[in-house]
């Protein structure tokens, strides 16, 4: 296997470290599948409150997204530069949502919303 000799100089992690990572990846994969089943399952329950349904669905989605970001995208152990970029992104993302939704802060008295 000539491929092995080429790659050895480029190794970033030891085989032991990688096999530990692989276990984590499989664990995250299973957690994501379970999360999907939970989301669909909870939806079949039909809570009376729409707000509760939305909150639960988004809560599970946030957990799943965090797992992908932290472990598959390695954000759990990244360099400072990446965190700085994402810090700015988070700030502007929250700002975008907040400003859009502020359209509902001062509605005329007879407006019907859900």
């Amino acid at each position: 296997m000539s491929d092995h000799s080429h790659s050895t100089e480029a190794h970033k992690h030891s085989p032991q470290e990688v096999s530990k990572h692989v276990k984590i990846y499989i664990g995250v994969f299973l957690a994501l599948l379970v999360g999907t089943v939970v989301t669909v399952g909870l939806n079949a329950v039909h809570f009376d409150s729409i707000k509760l349904t939305v909150a639960i669905a988004l809560f599970v989605a946030v957990i799943k997204a965090s797992l992908v970001a932290c472990y598959f995208m390695h954000l759990i152990s990244e360099k400072k530069m990446i965190y700085v970029i994402l810090g700015f992104t988070a700030f502007f993302f929250v700002g975008l949502m907040f400003i859009t939704l502020s359209a509902y802060a001062d509605l005329p008295a007879n407006t019907v919303t859900h």
Partner: protein
């Protein structure tokens, strides 16, 4: 000219340049999808009662497609990990699964789109009796498949019922034949309607399982509006096709890049393995982002 720091990390940042590049790109992607999500929220919250479409997407298919995308995400990272220990063969195997998953996702999504283009809603001038499962309901809105001259029709709208005159060019040659107006067509109604509450909808679905569909003859003169499930049907379908279409384009773009690195671009593994691994990592980061967007899209579009 060689681009600096594509293999080795830059001393001051501690990371190679392509990684900074992809994260900056992903930051702009967050804003792009964020803007569309906020548009979705505003449309949803502002929709008058009974007009927001829900329950029309196929949840089992959507769930399966979610699992397909999650699987492709884990194979990307497993492929990258295989390269870290120098196992190129295993990397090729895992990324092949990723590419197959991407194609499967797009295939399933196309099937879903086709189903939507086949489905229609008709708004009538007066109420008629429609069977929803065992229940008979009086309504002026019917959703279901549309049949005309023995075939299910795609993309029909109110204009189509009126027909179109033939079109001629300057020399009087017919370039488009006339489409005769429609006098009547058949609707094969779904067992439920999206104006029902989620509970009623689930009940109607359950009750109608195994019950034969009853066709309804609709006169064109009774039709107030007719639309297939296309963006112009409603704000729901407009934002549905915008969000899922844009996401689908991302899946396609990501799959092409991953395929290039996996196939023709794999020569680099022999000449510059570290740079090759970096390419795999960077394309993987994009792929995980695409997965991450779907994690939010799926519950928001299919379930809520």
């Amino acid at each position: 000219m060689e681009i600096p720091f594509t293999s080795k990390p830059r001393p001051d940042t501690g990371i190679y340049n392509s990684k900074v590049g992809i994260w900056l790109f992903l930051a702009s992607e967050v804003m792009l999808f964020g803007a569309l999500f906020s548009a979705y929220i505003l449309l949803r919250v502002g929709a008058p009662e009974g007009t927001w479409v829900h329950g029309l997407l196929n949840i089992p298919i959507g769930t399966f497609n979610t699992a397909v995308l999650i699987t492709s995400s884990v194979t990307v990272v497993l492929g990258w990990a295989s390269l870290q220990v120098g196992n190129f063969g295993r990397y090729k195997f895992y990324q092949a699964i990723t590419i197959l998953c991407a194609l499967a996702f797009l295939g399933i999504k196309s099937y879903e789109y086709r189903e939507k283009f086949l489905h229609h809603e008709v708004w009538l001038n007066h109420k008629i009796k429609v069977k929803h499962g065992h229940q008979e309901v009086e309504t002026d809105r019917i959703i279901g498949h549309l049949e005309y001259e023995g075939h299910h029709q795609y993309f029909w709208n109110t204009k189509r019922l009126k027909g179109t005159p033939e079109e001629k060019d300057k020399d009087g040659k017919v370039i488009k034949a006339a489409v005769p107006p429609v006098e009547s067509f058949k609707m094969i109604p779904d067992a439920f309607h999206y104006t029902m509450t989620p509970k009623e909808l689930a009940h109607a679905r359950k009750e109608s399982a195994g019950v034969a569909h009853e066709e309804i003859e609709i006169k064109a003169s009774d039709v107030k509006r007719l639309s297939a499930f296309v963006p112009s049907h409603s704000t729901y379908f407009a934002i549905y096709f915008t969000l899922t279409g844009l996401h689908g384009l991302h899946v396609l773009g990501g799959a092409i890049v991953i395929f290039y690195i996996w196939g023709p671009g794999a020569k680099m593994w022999k000449t510059d393995p570290q740079r090759y691994m970096n390419r795999v990592e960077v394309s993987g980061l994009f792929w995980h982002f695409v997965d991450l967007v779907w994690i939010f899209l799926f519950p928001v579009i299919y379930l809520l």
